[in-house]
Amino acid sequence: MKILVCISHVPDTASKISFTDNNTKFNAAGVQFIIGPYDEYALSRAIELRGDAGSVTVLNVGEADTEPTIRKALAIGADDAIRVNAFPKDSYFVASQIAAIAKSEKYDLILMGRESIDYNSGLVHGMVGEMLGIPSISPVMKLDITGNKATMAREIEGGKEIVEIALPLVAGCQEPIAEWKIPNMKGIMSARTKPLKVVEPTAVEETTSLNSYELPAPKGACKMIDASTPEKLFEALKNEAKVL
């Protein structure tokens, strides 16, 4: 099985988000970057599915600062990596880069997270599927391969559906598809020498531009209600907050 796993390089889930340059740039100072948590689920499952004769390639669209994140994916167990040397400016741009590489490489399975936790768009897997003319599915919480067929559980509102699709396909993954794998010392050592190929991006027409960021308005103080008379809460919700 030849598997491509697309990973994003995103601020840790506990990061405080702020912006610089008049709210036009993300403020990376003091922020720890990680493999997108959903992408890491996809990577973990890919390694389990790889088999003896298979391979797992990780792909990231990002500038040079994402290389430590890519090396971590190699330490977890991917065989090799590709970095498309460009800032991932929107879903269409990223999907176009992935599709350009996948077109010549003929992967059986293209996995990624259901969404990146920075832009939260959840669009890349579907776009890649459409660009390659193959099925796409998300969010996938269980994925098994038998022969040429994938059986998956996809989360839907209030439950799940069991879906069968012939390979190749693109899937956006989420927990509990696999347990995260902690890299061991051998993995970390070998990651340093595993191949990481840097390629230049293909030209893509610009369809969106991010003009500025905003932070939510700060919350007012929490109004405390005495625990001995909790029913007063409903009066406040009805008359003051007007949400009942």
Binding site: I17, V163, E175, T208
Partner: protein, 321 residues
Amino acid sequence: MSVLVFVEGVDGEIKKSSFEAISYAAELAKKKNTHAVAVVIGAYPADALESLGKYGASKVLNINNDKLKQPVIQPYATAIAEAANKETADVIILSKSSIGEAVASRLAVKLKAAVVSNVIELPDLSGGFKVKKSLYTGKAFANIELKADKKVLTIAKNACSVTETGGKATVESFAPSIPDTDFSTAIKEVSKATGDILLTEADIVVSGGRGLKGPENWHLVTDLAKALGAATGCSKPVSDLDWRPHHEHVGQTGIKVSPNLYIAIGISGAIQHLAGVNSSKCIVVINKDPEAPFFKAADYGIAGDAFEVVPKLIAAAKNYK
């Protein structure tokens, strides 16, 4: 030109989120001096389709094809793209849902459209086409300009209030031609909780955390939810411990909710949980520990023992709903 809106149904009923989407499309159409067309896939009674006019759709395209009974991504994307071409729609609106999002991406590529998901308010049309989207899991927003001639948007819950104007839509049946190659996905089985209010659609959500000590105490959450007509959710540890199913997990790596009222019982408020709820209009936190970080993100708080406080709330709730 027109604004096309994809309307979703579940078990033969139009979803509430779709009424919002129609209202959004109609408001946008008004701004653009054009009209909104709703596309509905599946069999519905004629009056149910006509009544979508109430929310501002002047026309309903009904696609009734046995092969589209289940929401499968590829043929749905083809069907909606054909509908968009037929109606010369330059903006297509979908709800942010398990099918809306999956379809939007393929649709955008088919139509060579610019696409933005998770849009939280009506577009700003003064000088271009700009939308505000939520990102960093609700910790920030971005103002994005869409530059292609065609635009696809998925909208978050509460992006637009439902407005009823009282009109009647004309209904037209439409049979898009969908290639066989689109039908490569087979849905074998669907399992979902029936009768429950869907977490993503609910106006009120009651969630429980590890403070409830065990699944045997969950009646506190479900009874309060029942009394308020709310959906139920839980924190990540609770779903990890299998006290509750994964589809109830609210948070950064679970379901993101944006109800009018979110009530958290026995949840301390880890930043990952807050990320899933911070676009709620009003947050109530009930926790024994007055220092729980969740109180900082709450509008109302009760520092008390859930086992004493919640039964009183359940008894009182009936008078307020």
